[in-house]
């Protein structure tokens, strides 16, 4: 008897639990508007303009994406305003990228990034970007013919380039990591509208959360090498033609190419290993050691690759050119006072019994000097010699 009562009791209890669990807020896909991209502009002092591109699931509608733009003081204030303009509830779980206008980025973006961090519905793999002009301009791009939402387009644009090792990954996680690290600064891609298309124009160097300068594609290759975590992608180097006279193929009809008056060599970096070491703590001397295994993709001159000594010769030339470029890049960073490579982290790793503040590091950074060693190894030269 008691057993039966017990059983009934627990059955009721479990059913109760089942029904109670249905009480949380429901989210039906048809009633939601998924924000795929969000952009922020500085409208005037204290006021930001927020623009979102939303993806809607409406079987009746032709256009599945919509742009909503409002102004407010904070990003969550913007969300309220945007909701007033939307027939469906805006949710940020599918947000793929966030765009800050350059003007805003120059003043600092951490207050907006902080709002993203605080929000548990926003993933950590959201891409952060900087707009060359205003963010609204980018979100305004008419992409009816691409048939995909702008957020997804920008996401694919960046993802494709990150995966093919062209740019550094600009996720929220990496921005946070580099921003909150004392000896490191974040880097984000700069987007631009060109012929009704969104393109990656350059890379933005940040000092803390403030945009400082842009870095072109060429230097970007070196930054990627120095960041160590990835392969560095393809790179093009120019040399004086006369330097290579020695190993040029002289025989044959096909040896005359006069389109360029310089020699260009393209290498594809298969493997790179960069080591940053502090040699002297007092004088702040750092040594950068880069080892590269690369494929030769293209050479504008018919060079003689069959001879091992000429490959050595090219390697040596590449080493010298790269050493110069890397040194120049490090000097450039130093002049700007930005540290995207993480030299401060290396310094801090050797600092015993003291705490380093960001300000102290900026002061010390000015005095740092660098020694660069590059070791190239051309492992393949393609299907022809």
């Amino acid at each position: 008897m008691l057993k039966v009562r017990k059983r009934i009791f627990f059955t009721v209890l479990i059913f109760g639990i089942l029904f109670v669990s249905g009480c949380v807020e429901q989210k039906q896909l048809e009633k939601l508007a998924l924000v795929t991209a969000a952009g922020y502009d500085l409208e005037k002092k204290n006021v930001i303009r927020g623009t979102v591109v939303v993806h809607q699931f409406d079987p009746m509608a032709q256009n599945i994406t919509r742009m909503i733009s409002t102004t407010a003081n904070t990003s969550k204030g913007l969300r309220q305003g945007q909701n007033l303009k939307s027939n469906q509830k805006l949710v940020t779980g599918q947000m793929r990228c966030v765009i800050y206008s350059k003007e805003l980025a120059k003043k600092g973006v951490i207050q907006l990034v902080d709002a993203l961090n605080r929000d548990s519905t926003v993933g950590n793999m959201v891409y952060l970007t900087v707009a060359d002009g205003s963010a609204k301009e980018i979100m305004d791009v008419d992409n009816t013919n691409t048939k995909i939402s702008l957020g997804t387009y920008i996401y694919n644009l960046i993802k494709q380039n990150v995966e093919s090792e062209q740019i550094l990954s600009p996720t929220l996680q990496e921005f946070n990591h580099n921003y909150y690290d004392i000896g490191r600064d974040p880097v984000l891609p700069v987007l631009k509208v060109q012929n009704q298309d969104v393109i990656i124009k350059a890379l933005a160097l940040f000092k803390d959360d403030r945009y400082v300068a842009e870095l072109g594609a060429k230097q970007h290759f070196y930054l990627k090498i120095l960041s160590d975590r990835y392969k560095a992608g393809t790179h093009e180097l120019g040399f004086k033609r006369s330097d290579f006279e020695k190993i040029r193929m002289k025989k044959g009809e096909h040896s005359i190419r006069d389109v360029y008056n310089k020699l260009f060599i393209d290498i594809d970096n298969i493997n790179s290993h960069a080591k940053l070491k502090m040699i002297d703590k007092k004088t702040l001397k750092f040594m950068v050691e880069v080892k590269l295994d690369s494929r030769l993709l293209e050479s504008t001159e018919p060079l003689d690759f069959s001879n091992p000594s000429s490959v050595k010769f090219i390697e040596k030339k590449l080493n010298l050119a790269m050493e110069k470029d890397i040194k120049g890049l490090l000097k450039y960073f130093q002049k700007l006072g930005v540290d995207p490579v993480g030299i401060g982290n290396e310094y801090k790793a050797h600092l015993r019994g003291k705490n380093l503040s960001k300000k102290e590091w900026r002061e010390l950074y000015k005095r740092a000097s660098f020694e660069v060693h590059v070791k190239n190894r051309i492992v393949k030269t393609g299907v022809i010699d």
Partner: protein, 373 residues
Amino acid sequence: MKVNLHPRTGLLFNAYLLMFFIHKVQTGVGIVGLPRIVYLDSKHDAWISVFLAGVITGIVIWAMFIMLKQYDSADLYGIQVDMFGKWLGNLLNIIYMVYLSACFFAIFMNYIEIVQVWIFPNLPTWQLSLVLIALSVYAVQGGVRVVVGLAFLAVLGTLWLAAVLIVPMKYADSTHLFPILNVDIKHLIKGMYGSSLSMMGFELLMFFYPFIKDKKNTLLYAQIGNLYTTILFSIVTLVSIMFFAEDSLARTIWPVLSMFKIVRLPNLERFEFIAVSFWMLIIVPNMSAYLWAASKGFSRVINLKQKHGIWFIGILGWALAFFVHTRSQMNAVTDYVAKMGFVLAFCYPVMLSALVFMKKRFMRRKADNAQGS
């Protein structure tokens, strides 16, 4: 009250299950926030603090075993009465019962807070607490074997979560770890103190001891469980230090869940939802273990039935949940439990075991003398 407890053979469980049980009761909600709490004190050497705290836990477990070995088959409730007499002993017993119930309360409240922050912001506390308490009451009704078995299953079910840590390792920056041992001893010890909340749970050994079948193996298996916990916690802390930037680890309330945010599966964008849901599997055995130990006090100390104790604590915990609303209140509760735990799980058992050991030796010598003369 009888000092020794002799349960039926049908109620006993094998000592090897302690391996899983000790690990499970240690790994609860504490681990989710552990890296940050320790980091606040011992900075980038937090993982050393965690490891040392684990070593100390091992020593405390050893001390407990020494104490328990002096008796035939006693639990802490019996030992305290034997040592301090009926009144003082039972007072201490009631303190322990309050502490165990408070742990029970803190575990599910912390978990509910995580669910509310991460998945359902609008979920009322009482609904989820009802579900969790009902589950653990149901488990404890089944007796000690169900409680231990649940812990065993939960360990098997959540073992894979540790493997997920490989993903954040890709974003790790090893320079954060250097220079090793940069903080002074004081901060290192503070960090160890900070990790005591997460290490807690092993004190339940003192309550489950009479139910172990092969008691001579207790120490070995309990230590294996604790070793696994220590290694796991140290690795989690190590990965967190490398994964997060210095200041952001200090700001992230649940670093382990934030690390899970990075995991992205092709058709599952947000892995942390799975992780938070799976955490319930980690929580429920913990809750039921504490609930069992606390309610056991009802039959041991106050001459009531354990069954009534289960319901009493369950309903009381559910009712108390209505009084906690904000994060700061929750923090205060957790801190209070952590402080109690530090005294009642770490310090006091060592003292007690020293006392028990001395008393038993004294008695033996007296007995020897009596025989000799």
